[in-house]
Amino acid sequence: MVESAVRTSADWLRYITSLPGVPGQEDAVARELMKAFGTVADKVERDRMGSVYGWIHGVGKAPRPRALLAAHMDKIGFLVRAIEPGGYLRVTEVGGFDSRTLPGKEVMIHSRPPMVAVFATRPPHLQKKGEADRPIQLEDLYLDTGRGEGEVRRKVPVGTMVTLRQSPVQLLGDRLAAPGMDDRAGVVVLLRTLELLRSKRPSWDVVAVATVEEEFGVVCLGARTAAENLCPDLGIAIDVSHGDMPGARDGDTVPLGSGPALSIGGNIHPAILEALKASAKALSMPYRVEPCPTGSGTDAMDIQISSSGVPTAVVGIPCRYMHTGVETVEPRDVDRCAYLLAHYLSELSLEWRSVEVLK
């Protein structure tokens, strides 16, 4: 593994997005992240639910307040649901795909040893009339490993993790497309922020948490449990925000390359948002305000209501084509999010509290 100092955000993105890890099966990615966090943090630990913590010790007088940064390490994928005669595999999804983006795509089946497979398609020559006018639902899709049924049954138990297999695609303007930018790009922001805070010591303690099971959908489990463990005085989730795309309404997206997207709404503590904006201005950094009228849909939702309530904010990385195999971000935006967070956190005074005492 290369020393972190020579790794750019693009290097980190290529590496971190390549790691598997659907909700509930984050072990392999967690092991790699512990190594990665080890290159930038003062202390690395893993909690009982599997989330990985990277600590930066503050320079303020103990007991110091504590800031929690959260980005989820799980990414959407599939689990093997059934094996059909002929060795074809049916899958169920963990996290929400649009099944219309799946036919013809390659996947990795994380059996031992791993196997390549494709979502099978019927060639136009053999299709019935009108067949191509109807989308294929996930329950009708199947995977073909190109291997015999016996081998598949021996090596691929039901429940085996399956992920889209797409190595990172380099686009113009340094842009990078890969499955799992949601939210491995956020994990890279954590790594870069810790790296910056190492030299720019904050007075607060900062704990960057790569959380588990954000995409499972019931609860942002890793964020909720980490927040209960750490009782932070402040929490910020780093996640992807919808990038500008044809077909999306104005207000639902932020342009790629426009800097951090700072959420606004009930999930966001106004004082943190104002301070983040002030940091962006101090750094002469572009940013956008992203309206989240009914919640941010990130780890911050669960951090906010943990313990006796935590002031939270969300820093978003603009990302096109979310929940497809070509989630696209601009590494420059990742850098900016890290610089913004490092600036904000190192400016935090020991006296800052969100509780207002009115009388």
Binding site: A132, G146, L172, H242, P246, A248, R249, H323, G325, V326
Partner: protein, 361 residues
């Protein structure tokens, strides 16, 4: 897999031409690779006016002499044909924001396009077909297939100028798929018809028993065009078209719709939408399969069409047949074939040439 006295199937050729781009009308890269493999093995090598690669190769002098005892008989002039082109897309417009609009070239199911990665042009440029995230997609939209004309390619450009400079209108793009091997399975793009191209290139590595003109044709996927012209030029006595054809295998499909099967030998065509296979030629091929223990199967009759349909009606007519390597998922980003089927096809065609030398018609 033993070649059974026939030339060996050259997997290195298949790998090279499967990975290279060659959409109908833009076959140069494929042609250049095949020309290198053919150059030292053939008596003449030409690129015809449409871009098809045409190689003429005669039997060895010893064979010609042996034929001489037989009343100067050299055997029929056989045209072996496989098409170089693959299905893909062409960039048709560059939009204000630097996005590229495209049209399909050849039969591509629009449902495989969203989220697909393409290799654009001859350089290493990549583009992705964008798709709206499920979070932003209205429920009723998800019941609808997005028409290909509404899709676009994102190369990361920020402006029309930047995009136009890198990708002029008319640039082709192919699926970004890399050839891979496991067991006897091979995965790659464009096996329709790079499988046939590689079988043909393998065959001409050795001097054939009869005069052969090998044609790697262009523009099959847009109307069997290259072979139509090439056949007039070559004027063969017999033609055999080498194809990568579609398997019907799928879980739960009725048995009669599953055939042909990957791994069960070359598929022989009886008829398709373009051709009634010459009965006598077909029975000679079957006979050779039996004699040399090459397993064969029938391609599902009545579907698809190949260059043979045009070659057969060329000039005064050419007795024609089609022999195919069975592939799963043709016209999609990643197809599969069984490499044993490719060798079996080489073996079967070689022995067919042998028998044609002895007797034809």
């Amino acid at each position: 897999m033993s070649a059974n006295g026939a030339p060996k199937f050259r997997e290195d050729i298949l790998e090279a031409i499967s990975n290279a781009p060659g959409v109908s009308g833009g076959e140069e890269a494929i042609r250049n690779i095949l020309a290198e493999y053919a150059r030292d093995k053939v008596d003449s090598l030409e690129v015809d006016p449409m871009g098809s690669l045409v190689a003429r190769i005669d039997p060895t002098p010893a064979r010609r002499k042996a034929g001489g005892r037989n009343g100067g008989r050299r055997g029929p002039h056989v045209m072996l044909c496989a098409h170089m082109d693959e299905v893909g897309i062409m960039v048709t417009a560059v939009e204000k924001e630097g996005r590229l609009r495209f049209r399909r070239v050849g039969g591509i199911d629009p449902r495989i396009l969203p989220g697909q990665v393409f290799r654009v042009g001859a350089g290493g440029l990549r583009g992705v077909v964008g798709a709206l995230p499920p979070h932003l997609t209205p429920r009723n939209e998800r019941d609808r297939v997005t028409p290909a004309d509404d899709l676009y390619l994102d190369i990361g450009a920020r402006s029309r100028e930047e995009a136009e400079e890198r990708v002029p209108v008319g640039t082709y793009a192919v699926f970004d798929t890399t050839y891979e091997a496991w067991g006897t399975t091979r995965k790659g793009k464009a096996f329709d018809d790079r499988a046939g191209c590689a079988v043909l290139a393998s065959l001409i590595q050795r001097r054939p028993p009869v005069p052969v003109t090998a044609v790697w044709s262009v523009q099959e996927e847009v109307g069997l065009r290259g072979a139509t012209a090439a056949a007039r030029r070559v004027q063969p006595d017999v033609a055999i078209v080498l194809e990568g054809t579609a398997s019907g295998e799928a879980p739960g499909a009725p048995p009669d719709e599953q055939s042909p099967f990957m791994g069960k030998g070359p598929a022989l065509t009886v008829h398709d939408r373009t051709l009634m296979v010459h009965a006598r030629l077909l029975s000679r091929i079957e006979e050779m399969a039996k004699r040399h223990k090459v397993p064969t199967q029938w391609k599902r009759p009545g579907v698809g069409g190949t260059d043979a349909g045009r070659i057969a009606i060329s000039g005064a007519g050419v007795p024609s047949a089609v022999v195919s390597v069975v592939c799963r998922y043709i016209h999609a980003p990643a197809a599969y074939l069984d490499v044993r089927d490719a060798q079996r096809t080489v073996t079967l065609i070689w022995h067919t040439l042998e028998t044609l030398r002895k007797e034809w018609p």
